[in-house]
């Protein structure tokens, strides 16, 4: 086909274009024609199709996500909110922190190594596009059943990809999660989060302003990889009948990205950049239209000047390519030479491909002919918005009525012992060191805490000890039982994890992983989860700074559990005050904070021992969470506790196991009055933590809890080389250790 120019499109209104193959719906295509007042050119169609995809436009989720803004709590910390590459918060001392979590789910199932690797690459570019130096990454993962053969293909590839990319970038991996569940079998979730640090004055935004300013594309050459990744891969469900989608997955080069980071930060430091955008999903289509749309003028781009890896690429392919490690900067004309020199220093290819115009149109030329002429807002911001129908699923009543309270409980101490071992050895509750030991957690020399601690913690000021903490959590089983409560439980757990390490929770980011929005039941789950999260954030005073939505995590009729992953960022004035999970000192007293109730719906115990999912998830009391957090932070600041561990899936026994093994000390526990041993060990009531208190601090600590009204129950002492539950059983640490630590290596090693 000859070149489809704007002129040609005007002259040939009846030419059929492959809008359907590119993922557009019929009414969407009609709307494109209406906006342009003619049929689109092939290149324009390519741009609209990727930018209006679910992945890029949030067309199904937008109407719900508005709540994050409408219900946003008052916060002085927020410097940049939703809508930019990543949110930015003030952490004091003139520092700002940006953080975000994104999904790379679909590509990671098709091609685990590259899918996961480029997920890390993408989130890191979002961080540098804000002007920040990336300082850490985290990776929340959800995989199919641990013993399913395909999980052996996906998980090792994903872990190697995250490690292969992140390690080579020099970013410590400080947290994340790994959960196995058959519901993720055909739709594993690979979420990637990153934190960046900058000075307030260094914040950069994605906008192209100033007529005559140059648009510079720099980084890797553009190739044919990842064409249509956002529209075809991430925005449709998998279907066995279709051909392999492997060519739609991008291929990453972390070395190139490392150079891109250094050269971008050097250009920022010299104040050479007016606006900047990374090239991720939808590639150049996204970068040019968003920069132009956010700026004051129009933009003119010469597509011939884009450096190519493959000279046979068509202009449509160049616009849609998702080749990795590319960025786009807007630079004043007199600073272009200096910008190019910095790129040359770092061996990064940089090319002026266009300039900001005084018009309002985005115009793209190929071989001297105009192939795109449109209002960039219509591509970047005015995509379709769907009010998808949603309805509470009819199966939910039966599921909630199937109460976990009726499940058989252990009848003796021996049986309880056996179930404890079974739970802590189950793939979900077992040690994930096999995974995290493949990630560099030390690089940059500022890692204060890393997995398996409750939150990762990074020092950001060597002089004062100022630091930030990040935790990510999400329990799909809880959310399946009640998505509103499930989302709040994810928020509460992440918030609690940050506070348990001594940091003050400040802001929230999220990655919302759901099935197909075209299914009203899934859409209801999504709407409920967003409502729960927005209400929860308002109550806790932690604004949502941004996030990501991943839909279509569904194979045929089977959707994944609704899985809202919530990241909470906290700040700590002096990292020397941080609280680790390890019980290091024999003789210290163990206190259980909070109330323990008969709550087993969605619990690890019900899953491992009975293969059961039913009933209601634990109740949420966010005021209690806030009180618990205040106590944990005060106790850490004033040196009243030496260890703390939040209680969540697996209950108390899980926390005790992890803290004992990490500290190489046993614990003697006494079941408190009013509780039976089983409930004491396995209940998953929220709003709880276990702490180790030095004897000298006991009075001060219990006085504080009493004065503020937080229940604190003495449950035992750090001692010996076994976990002993008085009158029930004794478990030597060696036995506990092999149960907890051998599972994952034996499955995947």
């Amino acid at each position: 086909m000859s070149l489809d120019t704007v002129k040609h499109a005007e002259q040939t209104p009846d030419v059929e274009l492959p809008w359907k193959e590119l993922g557009l719906k019929e009414d969407e295509y009609a709307r494109v024609r209406e906006i342009l007042g003619r049929r689109p050119t092939g290149a324009e169609l390519a741009m609209y199709s990727v930018m209006w995809s679910e992945h890029c436009s949030y067309k199904s989720s937008k109407v719900h996500l508005r709540q994050f803004g409408e219900k946003a709590p008052q916060s002085d910390a927020m410097l940049v909110g939703i809508g930019e590459n990543a949110g930015v918060v003030d952490v004091g001392e003139g520092y700002a922190v940006t953080f975000k979590v994104e999904s790379h789910n679909h590509p990671s199932y098709v091609e685990p190594y590259q899918g996961a690797a480029t997920g890390v690459g993408g989130i890191v570019r979002d961080i540098i596009a804000m002007g920040a130096r990336p300082v850490a990454v985290v990776d929340p993962l959800r995989m199919g059943a641990a013993d399913h053969p395909d999980t052996k293909r996906v998980l090792p590839g994903v872990v190697a990809g995250i490690g292969g990319y992140g390690n080579c970038l020099g970013l410590p991996n400080i947290g994340g999660e790994l959960v196995f569940d058959a519901c993720y079998q055909g739709n594993p979730l690979v979420n990637a989060g990153a934190i960046g640090v900058m000075r307030h004055e260094d914040i950069h935004l994605a906008k192209a302003s100033g007529t005559g300013n140059k648009v510079i594309l720099y980084g890797a050459r553009t190739g044919g990889d990842g064409i249509g990744g956002a529209s075809i891969l991430a925005s449709e469900t998998f279907d066995d009948a279709k051909p392999s989608k492997r060519p739609a997955v991008q291929v990453g080069d972390p070395f190139q990205e490392k150079l891109l980071i250094e050269c971008t930060l050097e250009a920022f430091a010299e104040r050479l950049v007016v606006g900047i955008q990374d090239l991720g999903a939808a590639g150049l289509s996204c970068a040019t239209s968003e920069l132009a749309s956010n700026g004051s003028g129009g933009m003119r781009v010469e597509l011939d000047d884009v450096p190519l890896r493959d000279s046979t690429l068509s202009p449509e392919e160049i616009l849609m390519s998702e080749s990795q490690e590319r960025m786009c900067a807007v630079v004043e004309p007199d600073k272009v030479d200096r910008f190019l020199a910095i790129c040359e220093k770092w061996d990064v290819i940089a090319t002026v491909v266009g300039e900001v115009t005084d018009g309002t149109r985005l115009e793209i030329f190929w071989h001297g002919e105009k192939i795109v002429d449109l209002d960039p807002r219509t591509v970047a911001h005015d995509g379709p918005v769907y009010e998808r129908p949603y309805a509470r699923p009819d199966w939910l009543d039966a599921l909630q009525a199937d109460d976990a309270a009726k499940l058989a409980r252990p009848a003796s101490g021996d049986e309880l012992r056996e179930q404890v071992l079974k739970v802590v050895a189950s793939p979900n509750q077992a040690s994930k060191a096999w995974v995290t030991d493949q990630y560099d957690r030390f690089v940059q020399g500022n890692t204060v805490l890393a997995q398996p601690e409750d939150s990762g913690m990074i020092r950001i000021n060597e002089e004062t000890g100022l630091g930030v903490a990040l935790a990510t959590d999400g329990n799909g089983r809880y959310a399946k039982l009640d998505p509103y409560t499930g989302a709040q439980l994810a928020l509460a757990e992440s918030y609690r994890n940050v506070a348990a390490t001594g940091a003050r929770p400040l802001a929230v980011s999220d990655c919302l992983n759901f099935g197909s929005p075209e299914d009203p039941a899934v859409m209801w789950q999504f709407a409920e989860a967003v409502r729960g999260l927005a209400d929860g954030c308002l109550q806790l005073g932690t604004p949502v700074t941004g996030g990501n939505v991943s839909l279509y995590n569904q194979t045929g009729e089977a959707a994944i559990h609704p899985t809202p992953v919530v990241a909470v960022l906290g700040v700590i004035d002096d990292v020397a005050r941080r609280t680790p999970i390890a019980f290091k000192e024999s003789g210290q007293l163990l206190y259980l904070l909070g109330d323990t109730r008969q709550e087993f719906g969605g619990s690890a115990w019900s899953d491992v021992v009975h293969g059961h999912l039913g009933g209601l998830p634990p109740q949420v009391d966010l005021e209690r969470e806030r009180l618990l957090a205040e106590i944990l932070i005060s106790a850490s600041r004033d040196g009243m506790i030496d260890a703390a561990h939040d209680l969540s899936d697996g209950g108390l026994v899980q926390a005790i196991t992890e803290s004992c093994l990490r500290g190489r000390n046993g614990a003697r526990l006494i079941v408190p009055d009013g509780l039976d041993a089983f409930t004491f060990l396995f209940s998953e009531s929220a709003g709880r933590a276990v702490v180790a208190v030095p004897r000298s601090e006991e009075l001060r600590f219990t006085d504080m809890c009493g004065a503020r009204g937080l229940p604190a129950t003495r449950i035992g002492v750090v001692d010996g080389d076994a976990v002993e539950v008085q009158g029930e059983f004794t478990l030597p640490l060696a036995e506990l250790r092999s149960a907890h630590e051998e599972t994952v290596p034996s499955l995947f090693g």
Binding site: C168, L169, F255, K258, T436, Q438, F442, G445
Partner: protein
């Protein structure tokens, strides 16, 4: 005037800032050196830090050895200037033949990151004099190409001349539950973690002393600081 210690940055170097910090913590002055620059800026010693220089393309360290800065480093090292290669830096030193042997992929084929127990086998090099002979230290290890190999003759020679500087430590036989980090993590021949040249001025090792210089950070130990205090004393005495 305190000692000036150069820290080389290649494209893809990751631990340069950490190494500069470690030099500072030890009380010396870190001097950044750039791979394209032959000028060593009159430093007293040089550290080649870890990372993935040139993306480890071709082979870890294989491209870096041809960089302009390495010409001068090799020349000065032969003339007696102390040089320390950490991880990727060790790989660069073997590629330049300042040290013998090579690194292959870990036997389990995974990247491994952990606290690693080492035994100091030679406490008389320029970089190890602040340790005791036979001392056990624990510092982070993190690599995928860390398996030290050389032919039998070279290995025998290294042993005979006392040029094995560090070995991965085996767990004490009497420990019921040994702490983490014992044992050979990657299949290195004769458990070798680091070696020195005949003169004792050039040392290379896979684990990372620069990540263990502050009590709060990383492993919570400062066992790596001895490398940097050793060189400082060595230079002040010289």
């Amino acid at each position: 005037m305190t000692a000036r210690i150069g820290v080389v940055t290649f494209p893809g170097t990751l631990d340069d800032r950490d190494t500069q910090r470690a030099v500072r913590v030890a009380g010396a002055e870190p001097v950044p050196l750039w791979h394209r620059d032959k000028d060593l800026k009159q430093v007293d010693a040089v550290v080649l830090p870890g990372g993935f220089s040139y993306g480890d393309y071709l082979r870890a360290g294989a491209i870096s050895r041809f960089s302009p800065v390495m010409e001068t480093v090799v020349e000065q090292a032969r003339a007696g200037m102390p040089v320390l290669g950490i991880c990727n830096g060790f790989q660069v030193l073997t590629e330049t033949h300042l040290l013998p042997g090579a690194m292959l992929r870990n036997t389990d084929l995974h990247f491994v990151c952990r606290d690693q127990k080492l035994r100091v086998e030679n406490a008389s090099t320029a970089w190890t004099a602040d340790y005791e002979q036979g001392q056990e230290i624990s510092i982070p290890l993190k690599n995928i190409d860390g398996r030290y190999v050389a032919d039998e003759r070279v290995l025998d020679e290294l042993e005979a001349e006392g040029r094995v500087a560090f070995r991965y430590a085996a767990a004490p036989a009497d420990a019921a539950a040994p702490a983490d980090g014992y044992g050979n993590p990657n299949g290195s021949l004769r458990d070798i973690a680091g070696i020195t040249n005949e003169a004792g001025n050039v040392v290379g090792l896979m684990p990372h002393p620069e990540h263990a210089v502050e009590p709060l950070i990383g492993t919570g130990r400062t066992d790596g600081l001895g490398f940097f205090t050793s060189i400082l004393k060595n230079l002040v005495a010289a």
